[in-house]
C-alpha cells in the first residue's frame, strides 16, 4: 500500500488515527521527562506496528487499526469506570486520581471514545470507500 495514497483516500479515518496517536505521544513524552518509560515504549510499539501495517495487505492493516481503535475505546471506558468507582465508593482515598475527573479529562475521554468508535465504523465501510 502507498501510505500517502491511502491517507488521501480516507482522510477522516487517518485524521482520527493521527489525533489519537498524537495525544498518546504527547502524554508519553510528558512521562519520559519525569522518568517513566512504559508509555513511550507502548506508543512507539504501536507507531511501528501501524507503520509496518501500511507495507502489508489491506486486511492486516485494517486489523491493526481495529486493534488500536479497541485499545482507545478500552482506555476511555477504563477512565469512566474508575470515575464511576470513585463516585460509588466515596471512601477511596486516592486524591491524586480523584482530582483528575474534571471537565477537561471527561471531554478527552469522550473524544477518545468517539475516535475509537469512529475508526471502527470507517474500517467497516466497504473497502472501495476507504482505500
Amino acid at each position: 500500500m502507498n501510505i500517502l495514497k491511502s491517507i488521501y483516500k480516507s482522510k477522516s479515518l487517518y485524521a482520527m488515527l493521527g489525533i489519537s496517536m498524537a495525544y498518546f505521544l504527547f502524554k508519553s513524552f510528558q512521562y519520559l521527562i519525569i522518568g517513566s518509560y512504559v508509555p513511550i515504549l507502548f506508543i512507539a510499539f504501536m507507531v511501528i506496528l501501524i507503520y509496518w501495517s501500511f507495507t502489508v495487505t489491506r486486511t492486516t492493516h485494517y486489523r491493526i487499526l481495529k486493534f488500536w481503535a479497541i485499545l482507545v475505546i478500552f482506555w476511555a471506558i477504563a477512565r469512566f469506570g474508575v470515575w464511576l468507582m470513585f463516585k460509588i465508593d466515596v471512601t477511596l482515598t486516592e486524591s491524586h486520581i480523584r482530582e483528575q475527573f474534571g471537565i477537561v479529562p471527561h471531554v478527552v475521554s469522550i473524544l477518545m471514545l468517539c475516535i475509537g468508535i469512529g475508526i471502527l465504523r470507517q474500517i467497516k465501510k466497504p473497502a472501495g470507500n476507504n482505500v
Partner: protein, 297 residues
C-alpha cells in the same frame, strides 16, 4: 494618689504599645495545630478544613511559607511531578503533581553538611489531620525556632514539610531525589509523623528503623529527659523514601507498635481537641536536644 497611679502607668506601658506579648512556644504550636486542622480560622479569614485536595494543599503551602517566613528564614518551594506507582496507570492518568515547602537554617561555622528534619502536611480526604500530621509540623516549627537561638551550629539544618505522604510518600520521594541529585552532604534525616497522642502519659516515642548511631543519640537524650524511646521496624512513612536512596534516615512517631497511638488517624475525628499538647511539648524538647547534639558535634 501615688498608689492609684501605678497600675495606670503599667497599663500605659504594656497595653498601649500596640504589640501583643510574644506567645510561648507551646502556645504558638497550639495555634499552628488549631489553624492547620480547621479549629481556628487563618488570619486571612480562610479555614483549612482538610489538606487533601489541590486547593487545600495550596492553601496549606501558603500558610507554611508564611510560618517559615515568620521565623526570619526564607521559605522555598520544590515543585515536582512524579510518575504513578504502577506504570500501567501512567497510560490512563496524569502523573503526581505537588510541592514541598522547605527552608535552610545555615550553620554559624562554615559547613557543607546538612541534617534534615521533615514532616508531611497533607491529610487523607475530609480529615482535619490535627495529630496526623499538624503535630509533626508544629514540632518542626518548634525545633527550628529553638535552633535559631543556638549560637554555635556546625551543620546546616533543613526543615521540610512534605506534600502527598498519604499517597505513597510522593512528596518525600521527590525531596530525597532532589537532595541526591544536587549532591547535598546529608548526615541524617529525621521525619516526624503523628506525634500528638499519649494516653498513658509516659511521653514515649517510637523510633523507626534507626541506624545504631541515631539510636544511641536518641536513647541517651531520652534518658536525660525521662522520655522512653522504643525502636521499631515500621517503614510506612516518609523516612522510607530517604532510606531507599541510601540516606541515614529514621522516623519518629507515637507508640504505634506499642498500642498507644492516635485512634482517629485518617478519620474526620482527628481533631484539635484530641491532641495531647504536653506530649507535643516533650517531643519538641526531645527532637531539639537531639538536633542540638548533632549540630554541635
Amino acid at each position: 494618689m501615688h498608689k492609684s497611679l501605678i497600675p495606670i502607668l503599667f497599663s500605659l506601658i504594656f497595653l498601649n504599645t500596640g504589640e501583643e506579648p510574644p506567645l510561648k512556644l507551646i502556645d504558638e504550636q497550639k495555634k499552628i495545630i488549631a489553624e492547620l486542622s480547621g479549629h481556628s480560622k487563618l488570619e486571612n479569614g480562610k479555614t483549612i478544613s482538610s489538606r487533601s485536595t489541590k486547593e487545600e494543599r495550596q492553601l496549606t503551602r501558603e500558610y507554611l511559607s508564611n510560618l517559615i517566613a515568620s521565623t526570619g528564614l526564607k521559605p522555598q518551594v520544590q515543585e515536582y511531578k512524579l510518575p504513578n506507582v504502577n506504570p500501567l496507570v501512567d497510560l490512563l492518568f496524569e502523573p503526581f503533581a505537588g510541592a514541598n515547602v522547605y527552608t535552610i537554617l545555615p550553620s554559624t561555622n562554615q559547613s557543607d553538611d546538612y541534617i534534615v528534619f521533615g514532616a508531611h502536611f497533607d491529610t487523607e480526604r475530609n480529615c482535619p489531620g490535627a495529630i496526623d500530621n499538624a503535630t509533626g509540623i508544629a514540632i518542626g516549627y518548634g525545633l527550628i525556632e529553638k535552633l535559631i537561638d543556638v549560637k554555635e551550629r556546625n551543620v546546616n539544618v533543613i526543615l521540610v514539610f512534605f506534600d502527598q505522604e498519604e499517597e505513597d510518600l510522593i512528596g518525600s520521594q521527590a525531596f530525597a531525589k532532589k537532595l541526591k541529585k544536587e549532591k547535598f552532604k546529608i548526615l541524617s534525616v529525621h521525619t516526624m509523623d503523628t506525634m500528638g497522642w499519649d494516653r498513658d502519659e509516659d511521653s514515649a516515642i517510637e523510633l523507626e528503623l534507626p541506624t545504631n548511631y541515631l539510636k544511641d543519640i536518641y536513647i541517651k537524650t531520652g534518658k536525660r529527659l525521662g522520655i522512653p524511646i522504643y525502636t521499631t521496624k515500621v517503614n510506612s512513612t516518609d523516612h522510607h523514601s530517604f532510606r531507599e536512596l541510601g540516606f541515614n534516615a529514621t522516623g519518629l512517631t507515637d507508640e504505634l507498635v506499642n498500642g498507644d497511638y492516635a485512634p482517629y488517624k485518617d478519620t474526620a475525628k482527628d481533631t484539635y481537641e484530641t491532641v495531647n499538647f504536653n506530649y507535643v511539648a516533650s517531643c519538641t524538647e526531645l527532637v531539639y536536644e537531639v538536633a542540638k547534639t548533632l549540630i554541635e558535634q
